[in-house]
Protein backbone atom coordinates (compact mmCIF):
# COMPACT_ATOMS: atom_id res chain seq x y z
CA UNK A 1 0.00 0.00 0.00
CA UNK A 2 1.31 3.44 -0.93
CA UNK A 3 2.05 6.00 1.78
CA UNK A 4 -0.28 8.53 0.17
CA UNK A 5 -3.33 7.34 -1.75
CA UNK A 6 -5.63 9.74 -3.57
CA UNK A 7 -8.77 8.22 -5.08
CA UNK A 8 -11.03 10.46 -7.18
CA UNK A 9 -9.79 13.29 -5.00
CA UNK A 10 -11.90 16.36 -5.69
CA UNK A 11 -11.93 19.89 -4.40
CA UNK A 12 -14.70 22.19 -5.54
CA UNK A 13 -15.80 25.66 -4.50
CA UNK A 14 -19.33 26.91 -4.96
CA UNK A 15 -19.35 30.38 -6.41
CA UNK A 16 -22.84 31.71 -6.75
CA UNK A 17 -24.52 29.66 -9.45
CA UNK A 18 -21.41 27.88 -10.73
CA UNK A 19 -18.68 25.79 -9.14
CA UNK A 20 -14.91 26.06 -9.48
CA UNK A 21 -13.19 22.70 -9.40
CA UNK A 22 -9.45 23.20 -8.79
CA UNK A 23 -9.03 19.45 -8.36
CA UNK A 24 -11.06 17.00 -10.43
CA UNK A 25 -11.28 13.30 -9.49
CA UNK A 26 -7.57 12.94 -9.14
CA UNK A 27 -5.93 9.53 -8.62
CA UNK A 28 -2.42 9.52 -7.25
CA UNK A 29 -0.17 7.17 -5.27
CA UNK A 30 2.98 8.35 -3.58
CA UNK A 31 5.26 5.69 -2.15
CA UNK A 32 7.24 6.18 1.02
CA UNK A 33 10.63 7.67 0.17
CA UNK A 34 9.44 9.23 -3.09
CA UNK A 35 10.43 12.75 -4.16
CA UNK A 36 7.64 14.09 -6.32
CA UNK A 37 7.64 17.35 -8.24
CA UNK A 38 4.25 18.85 -9.08
CA UNK A 39 4.27 21.11 -12.10
CA UNK A 40 1.71 22.90 -14.16
CA UNK A 41 0.41 26.29 -15.13
CA UNK A 42 -0.82 28.82 -12.64
CA UNK A 43 -4.24 27.92 -11.28
CA UNK A 44 -3.93 24.26 -12.24
CA UNK A 45 -4.49 23.11 -8.64
CA UNK A 46 -0.95 22.35 -7.46
CA UNK A 47 -1.23 24.21 -4.17
CA UNK A 48 -4.71 22.83 -3.67
CA UNK A 49 -3.42 19.25 -3.96
CA UNK A 50 -0.47 19.99 -1.70
CA UNK A 51 -2.70 21.54 0.96
CA UNK A 52 -5.01 18.51 0.91
CA UNK A 53 -2.09 16.15 1.40
CA UNK A 54 -0.70 18.37 4.16
CA UNK A 55 -4.04 18.26 5.98
CA UNK A 56 -4.57 22.02 6.00
CA UNK A 57 -7.48 21.79 3.57
CA UNK A 58 -10.31 19.27 3.16
CA UNK A 59 -11.42 17.52 0.00
CA UNK A 60 -15.02 17.87 -1.14
CA UNK A 61 -15.01 14.44 -2.74
CA UNK A 62 -13.05 11.23 -3.11
CA UNK A 63 -10.67 9.62 -0.66
CA UNK A 64 -7.36 10.65 0.78
CA UNK A 65 -5.55 8.00 2.79
CA UNK A 66 -2.19 8.73 4.30
CA UNK A 67 -0.35 5.90 6.03
CA UNK A 68 -3.64 4.00 6.07
CA UNK A 69 -5.60 6.80 7.79
CA UNK A 70 -8.46 8.59 6.06
CA UNK A 71 -7.54 12.12 7.08
CA UNK A 72 -10.69 13.65 5.61
CA UNK A 73 -12.64 12.18 8.51
CA UNK A 74 -10.52 13.75 11.26
CA UNK A 75 -11.97 16.62 13.30
CA UNK A 76 -10.35 20.00 12.99
CA UNK A 77 -8.32 19.66 16.17
CA UNK A 78 -7.41 16.00 15.49
CA UNK A 79 -6.20 17.12 12.09
CA UNK A 80 -4.02 19.78 13.74
CA UNK A 81 -2.46 17.09 15.94
CA UNK A 82 -2.04 14.85 12.91
CA UNK A 83 -0.19 17.62 11.04
CA UNK A 84 2.22 18.17 13.88
CA UNK A 85 3.04 14.44 13.86
CA UNK A 86 3.22 13.76 10.16
CA UNK A 87 3.80 16.85 8.06
CA UNK A 88 6.58 19.35 7.56
CA UNK A 89 5.44 22.29 5.42
CA UNK A 90 7.92 24.50 3.53
CA UNK A 91 6.47 27.73 2.11
CA UNK A 92 7.56 29.90 -0.77
CA UNK A 93 7.71 32.90 1.56
CA UNK A 94 9.27 30.96 4.48
CA UNK A 95 6.60 32.15 6.98
CA UNK A 96 8.99 32.34 9.89
CA UNK A 97 7.69 34.07 13.01
CA UNK A 98 9.41 37.47 12.92
CA UNK A 99 9.55 37.93 16.71
CA UNK A 100 11.30 34.61 17.30
CA UNK A 101 14.97 33.81 16.64
CA UNK A 102 16.04 31.12 14.19
CA UNK A 103 16.46 28.74 17.13
CA UNK A 104 13.02 29.55 18.55
CA UNK A 105 11.36 29.24 15.16
CA UNK A 106 12.76 25.74 14.78
CA UNK A 107 11.80 24.89 18.36
CA UNK A 108 8.18 25.99 17.84
CA UNK A 109 6.75 22.75 16.36
CA UNK A 110 8.49 20.73 19.07
CA UNK A 111 6.43 22.57 21.70
CA UNK A 112 3.49 20.52 20.43
CA UNK A 113 5.27 17.34 21.45
CA UNK A 114 5.89 16.05 24.93
CA UNK A 115 9.64 15.71 25.42
CA UNK A 116 12.34 16.67 27.91
CA UNK A 117 13.93 20.10 27.39
CA UNK A 118 17.32 18.55 26.81
CA UNK A 119 16.05 16.39 23.96
CA UNK A 120 14.26 19.35 22.42
CA UNK A 121 17.45 21.36 22.55
CA UNK A 122 19.40 18.54 20.91
CA UNK A 123 16.84 18.19 18.14
CA UNK A 124 16.85 21.91 17.36
CA UNK A 125 20.66 21.93 17.30
CA UNK A 126 20.76 18.93 14.99
CA UNK A 127 18.21 20.42 12.60
CA UNK A 128 20.03 23.76 12.48
CA UNK A 129 23.36 21.97 11.86
CA UNK A 130 21.81 19.87 9.13
CA UNK A 131 20.63 22.92 7.19
CA UNK A 132 23.99 24.60 7.81
CA UNK A 133 22.73 27.56 9.81
CA UNK A 134 23.79 26.65 13.36
CA UNK A 135 25.98 29.77 13.65
CA UNK A 136 22.95 31.99 13.05
CA UNK A 137 20.73 30.39 15.69
CA UNK A 138 20.20 33.61 17.64
CA UNK A 139 19.38 35.76 14.62
CA UNK A 140 15.90 37.03 13.92
CA UNK A 141 14.40 36.38 10.46
CA UNK A 142 14.88 40.00 9.44
CA UNK A 143 18.62 39.57 10.04
CA UNK A 144 18.79 36.64 7.62
CA UNK A 145 18.92 36.46 3.82
CA UNK A 146 16.08 34.80 1.92
CA UNK A 147 18.14 31.65 1.40
CA UNK A 148 19.03 31.53 5.08
CA UNK A 149 15.41 32.07 6.07
CA UNK A 150 14.40 29.15 3.87
CA UNK A 151 17.04 26.99 5.54
CA UNK A 152 15.59 27.84 8.93
CA UNK A 153 12.12 27.04 7.57
CA UNK A 154 13.42 23.67 6.35
CA UNK A 155 14.94 22.99 9.77
CA UNK A 156 11.53 23.82 11.27
CA UNK A 157 9.84 21.39 8.86
CA UNK A 158 12.13 18.48 9.71
CA UNK A 159 12.70 19.01 13.41
CA UNK A 160 9.70 16.89 14.43
CA UNK A 161 10.95 14.12 12.13
CA UNK A 162 7.75 13.93 10.04
CA UNK A 163 7.35 11.25 7.37
CA UNK A 164 6.12 13.66 4.73
CA UNK A 165 7.53 17.01 3.75
CA UNK A 166 5.57 19.25 1.41
CA UNK A 167 7.07 22.30 -0.23
CA UNK A 168 5.18 24.94 -2.23
CA UNK A 169 7.62 26.63 -4.63
CA UNK A 170 10.40 26.56 -2.02
CA UNK A 171 12.84 28.32 -4.34
CA UNK A 172 10.27 30.64 -5.91
CA UNK A 173 11.61 33.69 -4.15
CA UNK A 174 15.33 32.88 -4.29
CA UNK A 175 18.18 33.61 -6.70
CA UNK A 176 19.64 30.75 -8.73
CA UNK A 177 22.53 30.09 -6.39
CA UNK A 178 20.42 29.92 -3.22
CA UNK A 179 17.84 27.87 -5.10
CA UNK A 180 20.45 25.27 -6.03
CA UNK A 181 21.62 25.07 -2.41
CA UNK A 182 18.05 24.62 -1.18
CA UNK A 183 17.37 21.93 -3.81
CA UNK A 184 20.51 20.07 -2.80
CA UNK A 185 19.39 20.24 0.80
CA UNK A 186 15.93 18.86 -0.06
CA UNK A 187 17.53 16.10 -2.11
CA UNK A 188 19.63 15.14 0.93
CA UNK A 189 16.51 14.99 3.09
CA UNK A 190 15.06 12.53 0.59
CA UNK A 191 18.18 10.47 -0.05
CA UNK A 192 19.81 10.44 3.37
CA UNK A 193 16.91 10.80 5.78
CA UNK A 194 14.45 8.93 3.59
CA UNK A 195 11.80 11.67 3.83
CA UNK A 196 8.90 11.53 1.40
CA UNK A 197 8.90 14.87 -0.42
CA UNK A 198 6.21 16.52 -2.50
CA UNK A 199 7.25 19.78 -4.06
CA UNK A 200 5.37 22.26 -6.22
CA UNK A 201 7.59 24.10 -8.67
CA UNK A 202 7.43 26.10 -11.88
CA UNK A 203 11.08 25.54 -12.56
CA UNK A 204 12.09 22.52 -14.65
CA UNK A 205 15.59 22.69 -13.19
CA UNK A 206 14.18 22.29 -9.67
CA UNK A 207 11.87 19.52 -10.82
CA UNK A 208 14.97 17.79 -12.11
CA UNK A 209 16.08 17.10 -8.57
CA UNK A 210 12.94 15.05 -7.91
CA UNK A 211 12.62 11.34 -8.55
CA UNK A 212 9.61 12.02 -10.71
CA UNK A 213 7.50 14.93 -11.89
CA UNK A 214 3.75 15.14 -12.45
CA UNK A 215 1.94 17.75 -14.47
CA UNK A 216 -1.38 19.20 -13.45
CA UNK A 217 -3.69 20.99 -15.80
CA UNK A 218 -7.12 22.31 -14.85
CA UNK A 219 -7.23 20.06 -11.82
CA UNK A 220 -6.25 16.83 -13.65
CA UNK A 221 -2.99 14.97 -13.96
CA UNK A 222 -1.47 14.81 -17.44
CA UNK A 223 1.23 12.55 -18.89
CA UNK A 224 2.58 11.15 -15.64
CA UNK A 225 6.00 9.59 -15.89
CA UNK A 226 9.62 9.66 -14.98
CA UNK A 227 11.82 12.42 -16.26
CA UNK A 228 15.57 12.67 -16.32
CA UNK A 229 16.69 13.43 -12.80
CA UNK A 230 19.15 16.29 -12.60
CA UNK A 231 20.38 15.03 -9.27
CA UNK A 232 21.20 11.68 -10.77
CA UNK A 233 22.97 13.33 -13.67
CA UNK A 234 24.94 15.38 -11.16
CA UNK A 235 25.81 12.24 -9.25
CA UNK A 236 26.85 10.51 -12.46
CA UNK A 237 29.03 13.40 -13.57
Amino acid sequence: MALIECRSLTKAYKRGSGTITPLHELDLDVESGDFLALMGPSGSGKTTLLNLIAGIDRPTGGELCIDGADIATLSRSRLADWRSENIGYIFQLYNLVPVLTAYENVELPLLLHRMPGRERHERVRTALRLVGIADRHDHYPRQLSGGQEQRVAIARAIVTDPRIIVADEPTGDLDAESATAIMQLLTRLNRELNKTLIMVTHDAKCAGYARRALHLEKGRLVEPGRIGSEAEQEAAA
Binding site: T47, I56, D81, S84, Y89, P98, V99, P109, L112
Partner: protein, 390 residues
Protein backbone atom coordinates in the same frame (compact mmCIF):
# COMPACT_ATOMS: atom_id res chain seq x y z
CA UNK B 1 -4.02 21.59 24.42
CA UNK B 2 -0.50 22.78 23.76
CA UNK B 3 -0.19 26.54 24.00
CA UNK B 4 2.15 28.93 22.28
CA UNK B 5 4.98 30.14 24.50
CA UNK B 6 4.04 33.12 26.69
CA UNK B 7 7.16 34.77 25.36
CA UNK B 8 5.56 34.91 21.92
CA UNK B 9 2.70 37.02 23.30
CA UNK B 10 5.16 39.28 25.14
CA UNK B 11 7.33 39.83 22.10
CA UNK B 12 4.35 40.46 19.84
CA UNK B 13 3.67 43.51 21.99
CA UNK B 14 6.98 44.90 20.84
CA UNK B 15 6.06 44.72 17.16
CA UNK B 16 4.75 48.23 17.14
CA UNK B 17 5.83 50.73 19.78
CA UNK B 18 3.00 53.03 18.75
CA UNK B 19 0.36 50.35 19.22
CA UNK B 20 1.85 49.31 22.56
CA UNK B 21 1.79 52.90 23.76
CA UNK B 22 -1.76 53.34 22.52
CA UNK B 23 -2.98 50.16 24.23
CA UNK B 24 -1.23 50.85 27.54
CA UNK B 25 -2.13 54.54 27.77
CA UNK B 26 -5.61 53.99 26.38
CA UNK B 27 -6.43 51.30 28.90
CA UNK B 28 -4.78 53.33 31.68
CA UNK B 29 -7.01 56.28 30.84
CA UNK B 30 -10.15 54.15 30.80
CA UNK B 31 -9.22 52.46 34.08
CA UNK B 32 -8.42 55.78 35.79
CA UNK B 33 -11.82 57.14 34.78
CA UNK B 34 -13.62 53.99 35.88
CA UNK B 35 -11.78 54.11 39.21
CA UNK B 36 -12.67 57.79 39.58
CA UNK B 37 -16.35 56.97 39.09
CA UNK B 38 -16.18 54.05 41.52
CA UNK B 39 -14.24 56.12 44.08
CA UNK B 40 -16.78 58.91 43.74
CA UNK B 41 -19.74 56.62 44.28
CA UNK B 42 -18.01 54.82 47.11
CA UNK B 43 -16.95 58.02 48.82
CA UNK B 44 -20.42 59.48 48.49
CA UNK B 45 -22.26 56.37 49.67
CA UNK B 46 -19.81 55.91 52.50
CA UNK B 47 -20.34 59.38 53.88
CA UNK B 48 -24.13 59.23 53.56
CA UNK B 49 -24.19 55.82 55.10
CA UNK B 50 -24.02 57.51 58.44
CA UNK B 51 -25.72 55.49 61.08
CA UNK B 52 -28.42 58.10 61.25
CA UNK B 53 -30.32 57.13 64.33
CA UNK B 54 -34.07 56.54 64.09
CA UNK B 55 -34.34 58.26 67.46
CA UNK B 56 -32.77 61.47 66.21
CA UNK B 57 -35.16 64.03 64.74
CA UNK B 58 -33.86 66.79 62.57
CA UNK B 59 -35.83 70.00 62.12
CA UNK B 60 -35.11 72.16 59.10
CA UNK B 61 -36.55 75.23 57.46
CA UNK B 62 -39.39 74.12 55.17
CA UNK B 63 -38.17 73.81 51.57
CA UNK B 64 -34.54 73.22 52.54
CA UNK B 65 -34.80 69.48 53.00
CA UNK B 66 -31.96 68.85 50.57
CA UNK B 67 -29.56 71.45 51.82
CA UNK B 68 -29.11 72.11 55.48
CA UNK B 69 -26.75 74.98 54.58
CA UNK B 70 -29.61 76.89 52.96
CA UNK B 71 -31.96 76.16 55.80
CA UNK B 72 -32.90 78.92 58.24
CA UNK B 73 -34.55 78.26 61.59
CA UNK B 74 -35.48 80.82 64.23
CA UNK B 75 -32.91 80.81 67.03
CA UNK B 76 -35.75 80.53 69.54
CA UNK B 77 -36.96 77.21 68.14
CA UNK B 78 -34.86 74.90 70.39
CA UNK B 79 -36.35 76.48 73.51
CA UNK B 80 -39.88 76.21 72.11
CA UNK B 81 -39.30 72.57 71.26
CA UNK B 82 -37.98 71.74 74.67
CA UNK B 83 -41.00 73.36 76.26
CA UNK B 84 -43.70 71.93 73.97
CA UNK B 85 -42.55 68.44 73.05
CA UNK B 86 -42.62 65.75 75.67
CA UNK B 87 -40.53 62.69 75.30
CA UNK B 88 -37.25 64.39 74.39
CA UNK B 89 -34.46 62.50 76.03
CA UNK B 90 -32.77 64.17 78.96
CA UNK B 91 -30.03 63.32 81.36
CA UNK B 92 -29.10 65.09 84.54
CA UNK B 93 -31.50 67.88 83.61
CA UNK B 94 -29.97 68.42 80.17
CA UNK B 95 -32.29 67.86 77.19
CA UNK B 96 -30.91 66.20 74.07
CA UNK B 97 -31.64 69.23 71.88
CA UNK B 98 -28.83 70.48 69.69
CA UNK B 99 -29.17 73.75 67.76
CA UNK B 100 -26.70 73.93 64.90
CA UNK B 101 -25.40 76.21 62.16
CA UNK B 102 -23.98 74.61 59.02
CA UNK B 103 -21.97 76.90 56.80
CA UNK B 104 -19.42 76.40 54.05
CA UNK B 105 -16.44 78.74 54.46
CA UNK B 106 -12.98 79.13 52.90
CA UNK B 107 -10.15 77.81 55.05
CA UNK B 108 -6.44 78.62 55.00
CA UNK B 109 -3.78 76.73 56.89
CA UNK B 110 -0.12 77.52 57.52
CA UNK B 111 1.14 75.51 54.55
CA UNK B 112 -1.69 76.55 52.28
CA UNK B 113 -2.06 80.28 52.43
CA UNK B 114 -2.65 80.99 48.79
CA UNK B 115 -4.95 78.20 47.72
CA UNK B 116 -8.18 78.29 49.65
CA UNK B 117 -10.36 75.26 50.19
CA UNK B 118 -13.87 75.22 51.50
CA UNK B 119 -14.78 73.32 54.63
CA UNK B 120 -18.07 72.78 56.37
CA UNK B 121 -18.16 74.67 59.64
CA UNK B 122 -20.70 73.40 62.15
CA UNK B 123 -21.60 75.72 64.98
CA UNK B 124 -22.64 73.61 67.96
CA UNK B 125 -23.43 73.65 71.64
CA UNK B 126 -22.18 70.90 73.98
CA UNK B 127 -25.51 69.10 73.39
CA UNK B 128 -24.19 68.14 69.93
CA UNK B 129 -22.09 65.48 71.64
CA UNK B 130 -25.24 64.07 73.24
CA UNK B 131 -27.29 63.75 70.06
CA UNK B 132 -24.35 62.66 67.87
CA UNK B 133 -23.10 59.94 70.15
CA UNK B 134 -20.70 58.55 67.53
CA UNK B 135 -18.57 61.65 67.90
CA UNK B 136 -15.60 61.03 70.20
CA UNK B 137 -13.10 63.66 71.14
CA UNK B 138 -9.75 62.03 70.46
CA UNK B 139 -7.50 64.89 71.49
CA UNK B 140 -7.91 68.15 73.41
CA UNK B 141 -11.40 69.33 74.32
CA UNK B 142 -14.61 70.94 73.09
CA UNK B 143 -14.10 74.60 72.01
CA UNK B 144 -15.12 77.21 74.58
CA UNK B 145 -17.50 79.94 73.43
CA UNK B 146 -16.08 83.42 73.02
CA UNK B 147 -12.46 82.39 72.65
CA UNK B 148 -12.31 81.69 68.89
CA UNK B 149 -11.62 78.02 69.38
CA UNK B 150 -12.43 75.15 67.05
CA UNK B 151 -12.37 71.37 67.00
CA UNK B 152 -11.43 69.48 63.83
CA UNK B 153 -12.71 66.18 62.49
CA UNK B 154 -10.24 63.41 61.73
CA UNK B 155 -10.69 63.76 57.94
CA UNK B 156 -10.33 67.54 57.70
CA UNK B 157 -6.70 67.20 56.60
CA UNK B 158 -7.67 64.85 53.78
CA UNK B 159 -10.62 66.82 52.57
CA UNK B 160 -8.64 70.08 52.65
CA UNK B 161 -5.58 68.39 51.19
CA UNK B 162 -3.24 69.74 53.84
CA UNK B 163 -0.71 67.96 56.06
CA UNK B 164 -1.80 66.92 59.54
CA UNK B 165 0.91 69.17 61.02
CA UNK B 166 -1.17 72.18 59.88
CA UNK B 167 -4.04 71.00 62.04
CA UNK B 168 -2.32 70.10 65.28
CA UNK B 169 -3.98 71.01 68.55
CA UNK B 170 -2.57 74.35 69.69
CA UNK B 171 -2.13 75.62 66.13
CA UNK B 172 -4.15 78.20 64.28
CA UNK B 173 -6.13 78.09 61.06
CA UNK B 174 -7.80 80.94 59.24
CA UNK B 175 -11.48 80.62 58.43
CA UNK B 176 -13.01 83.27 56.20
CA UNK B 177 -10.12 85.63 57.00
CA UNK B 178 -10.29 85.18 60.74
CA UNK B 179 -7.85 83.12 62.88
CA UNK B 180 -9.18 80.31 65.09
CA UNK B 181 -7.25 78.22 67.62
CA UNK B 182 -7.41 74.44 67.28
CA UNK B 183 -8.30 73.09 70.72
CA UNK B 184 -9.34 69.55 69.90
CA UNK B 185 -9.75 66.76 67.36
CA UNK B 186 -12.61 64.32 67.03
CA UNK B 187 -13.54 61.13 65.26
CA UNK B 188 -16.95 59.96 64.04
CA UNK B 189 -16.10 56.89 61.97
CA UNK B 190 -17.80 56.62 58.60
CA UNK B 191 -19.79 59.84 58.85
CA UNK B 192 -19.64 63.14 56.99
CA UNK B 193 -18.89 64.86 60.28
CA UNK B 194 -15.27 63.74 60.18
CA UNK B 195 -14.54 66.27 57.46
CA UNK B 196 -16.06 69.13 59.44
CA UNK B 197 -14.82 71.95 61.62
CA UNK B 198 -16.81 72.36 64.81
CA UNK B 199 -16.99 75.70 66.58
CA UNK B 200 -19.21 77.17 69.30
CA UNK B 201 -22.63 78.02 67.90
CA UNK B 202 -22.66 81.67 69.00
CA UNK B 203 -19.15 82.28 67.66
CA UNK B 204 -20.11 80.97 64.24
CA UNK B 205 -23.31 83.02 64.21
CA UNK B 206 -21.33 86.12 65.15
CA UNK B 207 -18.63 85.43 62.60
CA UNK B 208 -21.15 84.91 59.82
CA UNK B 209 -23.44 87.71 61.05
CA UNK B 210 -26.49 85.52 61.08
CA UNK B 211 -29.36 85.58 63.51
CA UNK B 212 -30.88 82.23 62.57
CA UNK B 213 -29.63 78.71 63.02
CA UNK B 214 -29.63 76.02 60.31
CA UNK B 215 -31.34 73.17 62.11
CA UNK B 216 -32.17 71.55 65.39
CA UNK B 217 -31.31 67.93 66.08
CA UNK B 218 -32.97 66.27 69.02
CA UNK B 219 -33.04 62.77 70.43
CA UNK B 220 -36.37 61.37 71.50
CA UNK B 221 -37.19 58.62 73.90
CA UNK B 222 -38.97 56.15 71.62
CA UNK B 223 -40.99 54.80 74.53
CA UNK B 224 -42.60 58.19 75.12
CA UNK B 225 -42.95 59.76 71.69
CA UNK B 226 -42.25 59.50 67.98
CA UNK B 227 -41.63 61.67 64.97
CA UNK B 228 -45.38 62.09 64.58
CA UNK B 229 -45.59 64.24 67.67
CA UNK B 230 -42.83 66.51 66.43
CA UNK B 231 -44.63 66.78 63.11
CA UNK B 232 -47.77 67.81 64.96
CA UNK B 233 -45.70 70.53 66.63
CA UNK B 234 -44.49 71.83 63.27
CA UNK B 235 -48.09 71.91 61.98
CA UNK B 236 -49.28 73.75 65.06
CA UNK B 237 -46.61 76.40 64.53
CA UNK B 238 -46.72 77.10 60.81
CA UNK B 239 -45.19 80.51 61.54
CA UNK B 240 -41.88 78.72 62.28
CA UNK B 241 -41.88 77.13 58.79
CA UNK B 242 -40.32 73.89 59.98
CA UNK B 243 -40.16 70.36 58.66
CA UNK B 244 -39.28 67.43 60.90
CA UNK B 245 -37.96 64.06 59.95
CA UNK B 246 -35.91 61.32 61.50
CA UNK B 247 -32.21 61.47 60.82
CA UNK B 248 -32.63 58.09 59.15
CA UNK B 249 -35.22 59.50 56.76
CA UNK B 250 -33.15 62.63 56.23
CA UNK B 251 -30.06 60.72 55.13
CA UNK B 252 -32.17 58.24 53.21
CA UNK B 253 -33.70 61.20 51.35
CA UNK B 254 -30.27 62.61 50.69
CA UNK B 255 -29.03 59.27 49.45
CA UNK B 256 -32.09 59.16 47.20
CA UNK B 257 -31.39 62.69 46.06
CA UNK B 258 -27.83 61.71 45.17
CA UNK B 259 -28.88 58.40 43.65
CA UNK B 260 -29.21 59.86 40.13
CA UNK B 261 -25.73 61.39 40.51
CA UNK B 262 -24.36 57.92 41.21
CA UNK B 263 -26.19 56.54 38.20
CA UNK B 264 -24.75 59.33 36.06
CA UNK B 265 -21.27 58.52 37.40
CA UNK B 266 -21.67 54.84 36.54
CA UNK B 267 -23.20 55.51 33.14
CA UNK B 268 -20.37 57.91 32.31
CA UNK B 269 -17.83 55.30 33.37
CA UNK B 270 -19.60 52.64 31.33
CA UNK B 271 -19.67 54.86 28.24
CA UNK B 272 -15.98 55.65 28.63
CA UNK B 273 -15.22 51.95 29.02
CA UNK B 274 -17.33 51.18 25.96
CA UNK B 275 -15.52 53.83 23.95
CA UNK B 276 -12.22 52.38 25.12
CA UNK B 277 -13.43 48.92 24.16
CA UNK B 278 -14.27 49.99 20.60
CA UNK B 279 -10.92 51.73 20.33
CA UNK B 280 -9.27 48.55 21.58
CA UNK B 281 -11.23 46.38 19.14
CA UNK B 282 -10.02 48.51 16.26
CA UNK B 283 -6.41 48.54 17.37
CA UNK B 284 -6.31 44.82 18.00
CA UNK B 285 -8.10 44.01 14.77
CA UNK B 286 -5.56 46.01 12.80
CA UNK B 287 -2.73 44.32 14.67
CA UNK B 288 -4.04 40.77 14.20
CA UNK B 289 -5.17 41.30 10.62
CA UNK B 290 -1.61 42.22 9.66
CA UNK B 291 -0.50 38.80 10.93
CA UNK B 292 -3.07 36.56 9.30
CA UNK B 293 -0.49 34.70 7.20
CA UNK B 294 1.69 34.05 10.24
CA UNK B 295 -1.36 32.78 12.15
CA UNK B 296 -2.07 30.44 9.23
CA UNK B 297 1.50 29.18 9.32
CA UNK B 298 1.22 28.50 13.07
CA UNK B 299 -1.91 26.45 12.39
CA UNK B 300 -0.15 24.54 9.63
CA UNK B 301 2.50 23.57 12.18
CA UNK B 302 -0.26 22.01 14.26
CA UNK B 303 -1.19 24.75 16.74
CA UNK B 304 -4.91 24.74 17.34
CA UNK B 305 -6.95 27.85 16.76
CA UNK B 306 -7.89 28.01 20.44
CA UNK B 307 -4.19 28.06 21.36
CA UNK B 308 -3.66 30.98 19.01
CA UNK B 309 -6.67 32.83 20.41
CA UNK B 310 -5.24 32.33 23.91
CA UNK B 311 -1.93 33.81 22.80
CA UNK B 312 -3.57 36.83 21.17
CA UNK B 313 -5.72 37.44 24.23
CA UNK B 314 -2.64 37.08 26.45
CA UNK B 315 -0.95 39.73 24.39
CA UNK B 316 -3.85 42.14 24.73
CA UNK B 317 -4.32 41.38 28.44
CA UNK B 318 -0.66 42.11 29.07
CA UNK B 319 -0.98 45.58 27.59
CA UNK B 320 -4.23 46.45 29.38
CA UNK B 321 -3.00 45.00 32.68
CA UNK B 322 0.10 47.17 32.56
CA UNK B 323 -2.17 50.11 31.74
CA UNK B 324 -4.54 49.13 34.54
CA UNK B 325 -1.77 48.87 37.13
CA UNK B 326 -0.44 52.22 36.00
CA UNK B 327 -3.93 53.64 36.42
CA UNK B 328 -4.27 52.13 39.90
CA UNK B 329 -0.97 53.69 40.96
CA UNK B 330 -2.13 57.06 39.63
CA UNK B 331 -5.50 56.66 41.35
CA UNK B 332 -4.01 55.70 44.72
CA UNK B 333 -1.48 58.55 44.53
CA UNK B 334 -3.67 61.32 43.16
CA UNK B 335 -7.34 60.41 43.48
CA UNK B 336 -7.56 58.81 46.90
CA UNK B 337 -8.90 61.25 49.46
CA UNK B 338 -9.44 63.96 46.89
CA UNK B 339 -12.15 66.09 48.45
CA UNK B 340 -15.44 66.50 46.69
CA UNK B 341 -17.78 69.10 48.09
CA UNK B 342 -21.51 68.75 48.01
CA UNK B 343 -24.28 70.37 49.92
CA UNK B 344 -23.93 67.94 52.83
CA UNK B 345 -20.32 68.83 53.45
CA UNK B 346 -17.32 67.20 51.92
CA UNK B 347 -16.40 63.65 51.23
CA UNK B 348 -13.18 62.15 49.98
CA UNK B 349 -12.91 59.94 46.90
CA UNK B 350 -12.28 56.48 48.27
CA UNK B 351 -9.74 54.40 46.37
CA UNK B 352 -9.73 51.23 48.43
CA UNK B 353 -9.31 47.57 47.53
CA UNK B 354 -12.81 47.07 46.05
CA UNK B 355 -12.49 50.24 43.96
CA UNK B 356 -9.06 49.21 42.68
CA UNK B 357 -10.61 45.81 42.03
CA UNK B 358 -13.32 47.38 39.88
CA UNK B 359 -10.63 49.28 37.97
CA UNK B 360 -8.51 46.20 37.39
CA UNK B 361 -11.57 44.26 36.25
CA UNK B 362 -12.31 47.04 33.77
CA UNK B 363 -8.73 46.74 32.51
CA UNK B 364 -8.98 42.97 32.22
CA UNK B 365 -12.37 43.22 30.53
CA UNK B 366 -10.92 45.69 28.07
CA UNK B 367 -8.04 43.32 27.31
CA UNK B 368 -10.24 40.27 26.99
CA UNK B 369 -13.20 41.68 25.06
CA UNK B 370 -11.00 43.97 23.00
CA UNK B 371 -8.98 41.03 21.68
CA UNK B 372 -11.42 38.15 21.54
CA UNK B 373 -13.63 39.28 18.62
CA UNK B 374 -10.71 40.40 16.39
CA UNK B 375 -8.81 37.19 17.20
CA UNK B 376 -11.79 35.02 16.33
CA UNK B 377 -12.44 37.04 13.20
CA UNK B 378 -8.85 36.76 12.01
CA UNK B 379 -8.93 33.00 12.58
CA UNK B 380 -12.17 32.45 10.68
CA UNK B 381 -10.26 32.21 7.40
CA UNK B 382 -9.35 28.70 6.32
CA UNK B 383 -5.65 27.92 6.57
CA UNK B 384 -5.06 27.98 2.79
CA UNK B 385 -6.75 31.38 2.58
CA UNK B 386 -4.78 32.69 5.53
CA UNK B 387 -1.53 31.51 3.94
CA UNK B 388 -2.38 33.49 0.82
CA UNK B 389 -3.01 36.76 2.61
CA UNK B 390 -0.52 39.57 2.87
Amino acid sequence: MRLLPFDYAVRNLGRSAARLLLSVLGSALVVVLVIAAAAFVRGMSGSLNISGSANNIILLGAGSEESVERSEVEASTPGLLEASVSGVRARAGVSYVSPQVHVMLPVQTSSQQTKERQALIRGVTPEALLVHDMVRITEGRLPRPGSDEIMLGRMVGTSLGVPESDLAVGGTIVIDGRPWKVCGRFAAPGTVMEGEVWAPLLDVMAATKRATISCVVLTIDPALTDVGEIEVFTKMRPDLELVAMTELAYYGRLAGFFGPIKVVAWVTAALIALGGLFGGLNTMYAAFASRVRELGALQSLGFRRAAIVVSLVQESLLATTVGGLLACAVAVLFLDGLAVRFSMGAFGLVVDAPVVGVGLCAGLGLGLFGALPPAVRCLRLSIPEALKSF
